[in-house]
Symmetry: C2
Subunit: 375 residues, 2 copies
């Protein structure tokens, strides 16, 4: 081991971002029902690709996480949303060598929790990716001095670093058990290794039995298993949507992390944006590895209005595709590749008449790329 760089202790950042927080009691019942407020629209902020926990052996990583907390705080204070969606790649597990990566995950949740806003989360391809040893650690420089002392002394391991990672199930169980504001779920067991598959109902202010919209969350894989939405997930969606929305009367919106191949088809080419709305068109779409039927099912179902994904930090567009919209969120985190200005996609739902409007709120407070996704 060289006497090189020293890992900045995690507890410092936790103290910094969590100061104003009230410790939430353990949740007792799972929640799958969100409620509109009387006379108000329902506003959701989508936080995509936060990538907490990068390069934890240098000062760079913790500084990016601190900056990402700043982005989220600015968006939350400007928009005052009713709900937040963490759209995957919440952490960069391939850089994390502490025993329990939930500590980084928890940091990412903290600005939302501190404001008492409920949220839900899904997994991206980095959240349980295996640790990647930097090649330079094998050169003369050697492995930097790593301090893996965790903030919570009760965690096993103490100062011992661990390179085995934290599984999707462990991350999700930790989030759910420790947060009453979390609406996340670890999904049906028969869909594992795909974990974050669930549906939330947003119901009317006047009648909790009256659904305004169903929000479907899917794990699009990556990290410990292929970047894919399985046929089993497709079947689960078909069964579930038939059961709770048999006549397709209630609008449905869909969230997952990695764009499907359909995004590649509708992506603007040669700088011709057609009916697409967005501000950055700077990358090729990096789609899932294969299609197992999800897009066909969504395209045919009249109630499905839009799909939202992250993953490509250099894309923030919405493009129409057949009778629905395919949208990217906006790179929210200072972690992850790319130095495009950070922001978050906002969704605004109105009940009577139903409308789904979206725009992007930037860290500096500006907004752009407003689009109506319900027409």
């Amino acid at each position: 081991m060289s006497e090189g760089l020293t890992f900045i202790c995690l507890s410092v950042l936790i103290a910094a971002v969590g100061a104003a927080e009230v410790i939430a009691p353990l949740r007792t019942t799972p929640a799958d029902n969100l409620r509109m407020r009387e006379g108000a629209s329902f506003k959701t902020a989508v936080f995509a690709d936060l990538h907490f926990g990068e390069n934890a052996w240098t000062e760079w990583g913790p500084r990016q996480d601190y900056n990402s907390v700043g982005v989220m705080s600015a968006v939350l204070d400007n928009e005052q949303p009713d709900f937040v969606i963490y759209l995957g790649d919440v952490i960069t597990a391939n850089n994390i060598m502490i025993e329990n990566a939930s500590l980084y995950w928890d940091q990412a949740l903290s600005p939302t929790r501190a404001r008492g806003i409920p949220w839900s989360s899904i997994f991206g391809n980095h959240d349980d990716a295996p640790f990647e040893w930097p090649l330079e650690w094998f050169s003369e420089t050697g492995i930097p001095q790593l301090h893996c002392l965790t903030a919570n002394a009760s965690f096993a391991g103490g100062e011992e670093c661990s390179f085995r990672g934290t599984t999707r199930l462990e991350l999700m169980k930790s989030e759910i058990e420790q947060n009453t504001l979390s609406f996340s779920k670890d999904g049906p067991r028969n869909l594992w290794p795909s974990v974050s598959n669930y549906v939330l109902k947003l119901s009317s202010a006047s009648n909790s039995q009256e659904p305004v919209v169903f929000m479907y969350f899917f794990d699009s894989g990556g990290g410990s298993y292929p970047e894919i939405i399985s046929n089993a997930q497709v079947k689960w969606f078909q069964k579930k949507s038939e059961e709770i929305n048999p006549d397709s009367r209630v609008p449905e919106i869909i969230f997952w992390h990695i764009p499907s191949k359909a995004y590649k088809k509708v992506a603007p080419k040669f700088n011709i944006h057609k009916r697409c709305v967005g501000s950055i068109f700077l990358e090729n779409v990096a789609p899932q590895e294969a299609e197992m039927g999800m897009m066909k099912v969504l395209e045919k179902r009249p109630s499905v209005k839009a799909v939202f994904v992250g993953h490509n930090h250099g894309l923030d567009w919405c493009c129409p595709h057949k009778k629905l919209w395919l949208c990217f969120a906006r790179h929210t985190g200072y972690g992850g590749y790319g130095s495009w200005a950070r922001g978050a996609r906002i969704l605004e739902i109105n009940q009577q008449p139903f409308s789904l409007k979206s725009w992007i709120r930037m860290e500096d407070g500006s907004t752009h790329s407003e689009v109506i996704l319900s027409s």
Copy 2:
């Protein structure tokens, strides 16, 4: 889960190959001293790329393992070696979903152990590679019915499958603790994540203090960390060899799994074999990711006679490189890519005068590619 293929229970194969075995007592002291027999040469069989545990969810995998036991048995019975070297990729961890991959590792050791022959082992890039989920498991076919019941009921997990893998340290500790015949070591802690780094001394029949040859074993990485021999390993070799063989008087031979870039340079091109000796020249060399100084040190040290690697199943040559020889072993296992006939490289060491001869013994009993590596 579909009602598809059923995983063939591991215990069946263990029973089949382990029948004639005497259970060895737990080892108490580490061994690093091998001894020549009076008036005899010292013969070593090198088993490379056995790849136990492939496709464990079909009948194919266990059948290949059974066949690999056959190859090893044929070689051992024909050659009656004094020692065996397991040259990495003993198992295909990226296919193994039982809690403890040591069970497969142990199967690979069983033909040698059953004959009372001592051995040592090093790691290849597959031995702790992360589980790779087959893409088809996410299609309509679904995940086959997996039975992960282990032969040893005391292992945690019971029938629960595990996809987290078994670390190099766990594999090595398990081998060492359970086998008095094992000369393997988990190496200096400051070289981790690189684990199988150690040296064995072969000493004279007449005088246990008189070394005939030093055999150096290195972990060339891959799987959970990059395919590389680190600068720290180079420094360890320099220090160790200076300490135990300061005047370079005693010959040294070297074993690791992944060829270094020097192999690419000396590989026969355009079917011109020059001074190379071998029978298959059917692939491009797949070398380590980077050089951190090991080859330069070996090339300069007069006592280093030869380097032996596996990894490329379609290569079995020895080529001269500066004042030493670079040799491939021979693909021994039915697991792993390629259908070239299986065999094992044999090394024969004589003391007075010192000589290092090598040939390849095939499963069918034939031999070929004899070469003197000490001249």
